[in-house]
């Protein structure tokens, strides 16, 4: 079973992709690393920056090897290096 989720993009990731959100087909259980891989597959321009990015799911940072339990309403964001302050 697969379904679509929305991935939010910010800062340089948004600029490189040229959009501020993308739709991605996912399985209900995936690791953070797998999702980032899927994103890069769909948007190859994000390949280089993706190694410096981290995934936020439900507005929480997730480790690369963390198992994520997703549904269609899960809020996911690809977070580039932060530079607030």
């Amino acid at each position: 079973m697969t379904f679509d989720v929305t991935i939010l993009l910010f800062g340089p990731v948004r600029e490189i992709a040229g959009v501020d959100r993308i739709r991605l087909n996912v399985r209900p259980q995936m690791t953070s690393a797998e999702i980032i891989q899927q994103i890069v597959k769909k948007h190859p321009s994000l390949k280089q920056i993706s190694s410096n990015c981290v995934l936020a799911v439900g507005q929480q940072y997730r480790h690369r090897d963390e198992n994520l339990y997703l549904d269609t309403s899960t809020e996911i964001a690809l977070i580039p290096p932060i530079s607030g302050g």
Binding site: L8, F10, G11, P12, E15, N52, A56, Q59, Y61, E75, A77, I79, P80, P81, I82, S83, G84, G85
Partner: protein, 154 residues
């Protein structure tokens, strides 16, 4: 246990003030919020836009953020600061987004405590944690027309 949790929640609700806005931010607001009769010390940190980076002239800065998560991470900054500095009474963190001109404030943090050491160290701690955790993204726009997304040093 439950009483402690309720107390922590009230603490957050009434004594932490976090804010993200595109209008200019001012230390008057953060300091007015943290100033309490039982506190003798307020420490404020203001991050301002510098006119240079590695010898390149900076024209202006542009900030954007993942707003919902930035708010939640700013509240986490308050909570972590309270965990480390139990004496702290109030914390205010304001971050500006959008265009910020040279010399203008992009972030202001104020904290208050009965004695000075805690307030000073807590504000220092809070700005360090904010720079490590809050999803805000800064682009420097240089006089020569080039641009660069920044990355906070570890």
């Amino acid at each position: 246990e439950i009483v402690a949790k309720i107390f922590d929640k009230l603490q957050e609700v009434f004594n932490d003030f976090v804010r993200i806005q595109s209008d200019p931010i001012s230390s008057m607001s953060t300091e007015k919020f943290v100033n309490l009769p039982n506190c003798g010390a307020i420490s404020t940190f203001i991050g301002t836009t510098r006119d240079n980076f590695n010898n390149k002239k900076v024209k202006l800065l542009e900030y954007e953020c993942y707003e919902a998560m930035a708010y939640s991470e700013m509240k986490n900054v308050c909570q972590k600061t309270r965990e480390k500095f139990a004496e702290i009474k109030r914390i205010a963190i304001f971050h500006r987004i959008g265009k910020v001109d040279i010399g203008e404030a992009s972030v202001i943090i104020s904290s208050s405590s009965p004695h000075r050491r805690e307030a000073i160290e807590a504000t220092h701690f809070a700005i360090d944690i904010l720079k490590e955790t809050v999803p805000i993204f800064k682009k420097e726009i240089y006089e020569d027309g080039t641009k660069s997304w920044k990355e906070n040093a570890e």
